[in-house]
Amino acid sequence: MRGYTERTKKLRQVSVSTQPSVSLERALLETEFYKKHYGSVEMPVLRAMNFKNYMENRKLYIGEGELIVGEKSEGPQVVPTFPELCAHTVEDMTVMNDREHINFKVKEEDKKIQAEKILPYWQGKSTRDKILAAMSQEWKDCYQAGMFTEFMEQRAPGHTVADDKFYHKGFLDFKKEIEEEIEKLDFVNDFDAFDKKAQLQAMAIACDAIIIYGKRYADYARKLAEKERDQKRKEELLWIAANCDVVPAHKPETYAQALQMYWFVHIGVTTEVNTWDAFSPGKLDQYLYPFYKKELEEGTIDYGKARELMECLWIKFNNQPAPPKVGITLKESGTYTDFANINSGGINPYTGEDGVNDVSYIILDTMDEMRLLQPSSNVQISEKTPDEFLRRAVEISRKGWGQPAFYNTEELIQELLNAGKSLEDARFGGSSGCVETGCHGREAYVLTGYLNVPKIFELTLNNGFDKYTNKQISIKTGNPEDFTSYDQLREAFYKQLQHIIDIKIAGNHVIEKIFAKYMPSPFMSVLTTGCKESGKDYNAGGSKYNTRYIQIVGIGTITDCLAAVKYNVYDEKRFTMKELLAAIDSNFQGYEMIHNLVLNHTPKYGNDDDYADDIMVDIFTNVRDRIRGRKSACGATYQIDMLPTTCHVYFGSVMTASANGRLKEKPVTDGISPEKGADRRGPTAVIKSCAKMDHTSTGGTLLNQKFSPSSVAGEEGITNIAALIRAYFQMMGHHIQFNVIDRSTLIEAQKNPDEYKDLIVRVAGYSDHFNNLEKALQDEIIERTEQSFN
């Protein structure tokens, strides 16, 4: 069992072995509340009162041995639902209950409650219903065709990151500041004063809500202590109560209170509304270190205690699976993982100096020991970061479960500066969710949806007609058979691109208004710089900085498609456009020669080959410039991200075959990675290709790199991986993470060699492409891989 102490071993065991289930507690409290109060108060106040109502009336949970308290719902692995965003149908509940993987248990009686009490009230009122009713036909056509996704369809903005505010102030302090802002309102000259007052009142109520929640926990812990027979546990419960007497009402005084403060805030943010399943503490090591240092000097804490408490926090994150989705998204999504993401290392945001401290190492040790997918953890690597820290992070990363990921501090800061933030705020920058960048605690940076760029090229080849839904869904840009040059094709593609982006952004404007109007987040607004001062909500552009992201998917696939057409049809004239279109239509069946040529004998992205990489840069620049800098309905600025999560699989599934030889329904590329099997010159060439796009003009890019365990073995392996990271970051790459290939992947590669052309394994004193090896030798390597893992 994993865990630094007996306590965390047990808590972790509970966390990983408890069956996830759904609780209707929140939905019921909310529905009753809305029935009573909807229409009688301003929307922000309604939302704040609703939040307070939940905090006042919800069940509390203190598990055996717990030191940090608070759950999103009734206990570990229990999720609340958010009918105000989207209400599950009874069928949804049956699906999530019955399916074999990633299931959530739903009680039969709850299905009845859902049908009789929850659903009837929210039908037509949830933001999802409002959105779907408001969207244009062309938006719906594109949405159904899988041209883009919509982040706010089932969840609310705000899977964002905290800064240091609540380690310096308590919620009573925040409330006082809010009341001062109300006092300052000028009802003579400011025509928005009425709206601002409602918003500020709502924020004050949200402060009350979290204070009440903390106080209830203090009382509950004392009550449990009275009954507790075990003297040691009794003391612990009283210690918990004492901590909850301080936070969240007041600022934390100790390391433990700082952790408890964060966790109360986390519960607040993620139950006020479903903020994309998660919230993150950001630069946790920077914020905790002063508490740790002070207590270390006073002799009230040591590494062991601090480590145990950190593991308690880790387990708390893991106790919260992402709430299940509805409809088709529920059926397609296969994960419990939310998007908490903790940044360690990097720089000290106050001084700009190297930020690595003792708590940074406690976090790495915790991550290594806990080995939980939640919270996702990453390290920021700066030029100032000591090699020791980088090496320790690499050592954990090469164990092959993908954590920590590596982020480039200098590049992150440059991104934020390029987007108009001050240096002071940029130093509080980091990533959240996947790789998206923001100024923690000062910015509303809202992901709005993935854009299927390879499919836009598919539309170009079909003159705006979609073969998946059998509909003309976009403009006509000409029959590609009539194009006499690559430039004509390129122009047509960019016209289609512009058109689809415009449809997406037009939809976004409407959705943004729906959230600003119906779904204010007063608690989140308390935490975000600018909302108090402006009297505006987080969801209405109240933050100091406001950004909207569109996530670009499939740069590898689209680059190779354009390269394949340019090289084969226009440059080398190996075959005609007509022949290529026929080959694509037949999924390359009967067109094996064309398939061979586009797949194996055409320049491809990921090989440090300028023929393909120049095309990549051209596409990247054109996509970016059609999005970056545009304004949103609430005054935010648009930016792009280059990340897919798992959307590249969905996007591929709605597509025909591609000009680069990708077969029908197969995934498009993830992040900024090259197409599977296209990168044949190893990791340095991939990194060089990826660095050719200007990362600093995005809000984040994602790069996955695969290695075999033996190629990263030993001290030399650590040195080489660390060098790859330093080199990529010197070239201003944003993010890199490592997948070390395990045995099952090698077996897969043996069965499907074509999909693993880039797989390099260490053989005996040297490395080779796995594909080049004879079966017997492959078997031997597979066996050896097993050994090196155990």
């Binding site: 061979n596 030399e716 005996a764 040297y766 490395s767 004879e774």
Partner: protein, 300 residues
Amino acid sequence: MITANIFNIQKFSIHDGPGIRTTVFFKGCPLKCMWCHNPESQESKNQILYNSEDCTLCGTCVKVCPENAIKIENNILTTDLKKCNFCGLCEIYCIQGVRQIVGKDYTLDQVVKEVLKDRVFYEKSNGGVTVSGGEPLIYIDFVEELFKKLKEENIHTAVDTSGAVNFEALERIAKYTDLFLYDIKLMDNEKHKKFIGSSNRLILENLIKLSKIHNNINIRMPIVEGVNATVDHIEKTMNFIEKLNVRKINLLPYHSIGKHKYSKLALDYREEEMSKPSEEKMQHFKAILESKGYEVKIGG
């Protein structure tokens, strides 16, 4: 313009010297080691690897060949290498992927450009460029110019050599070389002649001379069961290098990865005479060498 025949430029090469390297594989070798895992490196002329087993005799290559060098007769496909100009069309148009041209003439500028691409990785990892083969020093003029350029750029250089060249070549390149990876295959000259096809005298003499003018030489010892996997060979090697300026040894256990290439080159692979030495044996050899103070690593 000076050129050389090169059959691979391998990026992220991490077993041919320190750090992240690019290894340039030159085509052509004075030796013919029985276990050679790159048999396509032996001949200095271009070659075609052809996998007749997977060939469907579809005849596409016959049609696309502009020189009419390929013919199929009695279900056997042959390529007339006298006519072939290695344009590569047959490889590109082969759906089965059974043909591969080995070897390409590179100019010095092309190689310099290619290896400089990964410079940032050399800098971050204390890596650099390795020349290997075949035997790179049969292209001494080319390699000398290449290394001059690399040293101007302050890039770490390594030569992976069989030592079976005129000493003049070693002497010329030593000036620009940071590290030699020098093979000792067999101490017994009769066996050397039998398994490698030539005497070991030149190789051993060159090593003695080289160690007098260069102080960073690693010895690489391929260990093949059935050929040289004996304590006797290890001890003889140790006695030989005792007085030389050598401290690091790599023991490279035999593997049969190159086997599939032999049939594609229509060469005989004497599989039954060779096998992989046991792990225990390798550890034993390592221990013997270490007891004399050598720094030993199994593998590259």
